[in-house]
């Protein structure tokens, strides 16, 4: 792992979390959780927008329970949500949005691949 001009951090394959896990990185004073979902890498602020809890460093990756149109229940796509450690609100890892409150959104960070490395930068995610 290396940090360039405190604007970004470069992660090697060994630095990346396995699915369902959260790897913590820091860029300057930004504490960022890195999560892998379905082969994609995502980066989110370690701060819950609800009450400021350490969302990534103490939260967990979970799978939602969804209701189909016919009323049956099923598991959602595996490991796409991150759950706040304090009040247990869930956020979509890829977008930072909150399924139950449109006003709440976790800051997400730009992630790109550069050769064998994954680069997380302070730029906002696309």
């Amino acid at each position: 792992m290396s940090v360039d001009r405190v604007r970004e951090v470069r992660l090697t394959a060994a630095d990346l979390p396995s699915p369902g896990r959260i790897a913590m990185v820091e860029i300057g004073h930004h504490r960022i959780g890195v999560v892998q979902v379905g082969g994609e890498i995502h980066a989110l602020a370690d701060r819950c927008p609800h009450r400021g809890a350490p969302l990534c460093s103490a939260g967990q990756v979970v799978t939602g329970i969804e209701r189909r149109p016919d009323g049956a229940l099923e598991l959602g796509r595996e490991g796409t949500l991150i759950r706040c450690p304090w009040h247990k609100w869930d956020f979509d890892i890829a977008s930072g949005t909150c399924p139950v409150d449109a006003q709440m959104r976790v800051r997400t960070y730009s992630v790109r691949r550069d050769g064998d490395e994954v680069v997380v930068s302070l730029d906002r995610a696309g």
Binding site: R51, A58, G59, Q60, P85, W86, K88
Partner: protein, 362 residues
């Protein structure tokens, strides 16, 4: 300064109380059931975890610790030190069940052992900690004796009664508890807990809820019953020194009940002659409320215009409910209040109720 009126702690296992138990009770605790005595608990399981995950240590769970967020070092790190808590008032978790098990004698003996355990493991370990006396409310005479036994220890600042009970706390069968508490100048804290569990009736007369979420929305129901019962049965006439604090029942619902109490008392007071004044008059003098779980209207500024009718500058006390999942952060709660009420809610009202020393107001 900050006084947190609801900091939950608990033993890791009921067997931890063994050193504080009399022989016969020790025998029951050790050999009952399969692995020793167990307390009844909620039939609803929290879908995502009862406690804050950052207060939860999986390694400690693996070696049998029951509620690891309640360890002293964790409480210091995540609550007392982090928020510069001047006093944290300890409330029970599982030990609240001693009041809702059918065997009143057993509950009373367990409560005494628990209070001894509190002294040794908590109150003697950190000068910021105070505690509520746990009693078995279903055995009022022995509960009163336990209150008197602890009354000279300044670290016990009140009496804990759970929301779940056999009958409401204004019923005269509880007079020994009110008398002992009043004579000891200790407030009685009624805290939502085990409503609808053990010997207490269903959470509401609709019957048992299907889910934890339903339960949690309704869990103050026992407290609203105790609130109404204490006021209308004349507890504060029989025991003019009695104080009551409603813990974890929210704030807004009490206002609705209070308005209804005053209105109904005017029409029905011949039936409740021991309530000699408007119920709200007793409230201002004898009853306090804690903040958590503070209601969260869509617009935060809508809260104060409602709760101001409960006179929060005199009646409201901060509580976090640490380490539970519905923990309220002090900066958030106090930020919902106007500047002129914050100091009172943060510590002055609690200091007065629990007789804790704080700087004199400027």
């Amino acid at each position: 300064m900050l006084i947190d009126c609801d900091v939950h702690v608990g033993y890791d296992n009921l067997l931890d109380l063994v050193p504080f138990l009399d022989g016969p009770t020790r025998e029951l605790v050790t050999h009952s059931g399969v692995n020793g005595l167990a307390m009844p608990s909620y039939p609803w399981y929290h879908p995502t975890g009862w406690i804050r995950k950052d207060a939860y240590d999986a390694g400690e769970v693996a070696v049998g610790r029951q509620i690891p967020g309640q360890g002293l070092e964790t409480v210091r790190r995540l609550l007392l030190d982090r928020y510069d808590v001047t006093y944290g008032i300890l409330t029970p978790d599982e030990a609240a069940a001693f009041s809702i098990i059918p065997n009143a004698n057993l509950g009373a003996r367990l409560a005494t052992a628990y209070n001894d355990w509190l002294v040794e493991h908590w109150l003697s370990e950190d000068a910021r900690l105070r505690a509520l006396i746990v009693v078995a409310a279903q055995h009022p005479a022995v509960a009163a004796a336990e209150i008197r036994r602890r009354a000279d220890d300044d670290r016990f600042v009140g009496v804990f009664l759970p929301g779940g009970s056999r009958v409401p706390y204004g019923n005269p069968i509880y007079d020994p508890i009110w008398r002992a508490a009043a004579e000891s100048e200790l407030p009685v804290a009624v805290h939502t807990h085990f409503d609808g569990v053990g010997i207490s009736p269903p959470l509401t007369s609709a019957g048992h809820p299907d889910t934890y979420t339903e339960y949690h929305v309704l869990c103050g129901s026992g407290m609203y019953g105790h609130f109404t019962s204490a006021l209308l049965s004349g507890v504060f006439e029989r025991f003019p020194g009695a104080k009551m604090v409603m813990v974890e029942g929210g704030v807004v619902p009490f206002l609705g009940y209070l308005w209804r109490l005053d209105a109904d008392w005017k029409a029905c007071r011949s039936e409740v002659p021991h309530c000699r004044r408007l119920p709200s008059e007793y409230v201002w003098e004898h009853v306090r409320f804690t903040t958590q779980p503070i209601e969260t209207p869509p617009e935060g500024e809508d809260l104060w215009p409602v709760i101001r009718h409960l006179r929060p500058e005199r009646t409201l006390l901060f509580a976090s409910d640490y380490p539970h999942w519905d923990f309220d952060e002090p900066t958030h709660v106090l930020g919902l209040l106007p500047e002129e009420a914050r100091e009172a809610v943060a510590f002055r009202n609690a200091a007065e109720l629990f007789r804790l020393s704080v700087p004199v107001a400027a």
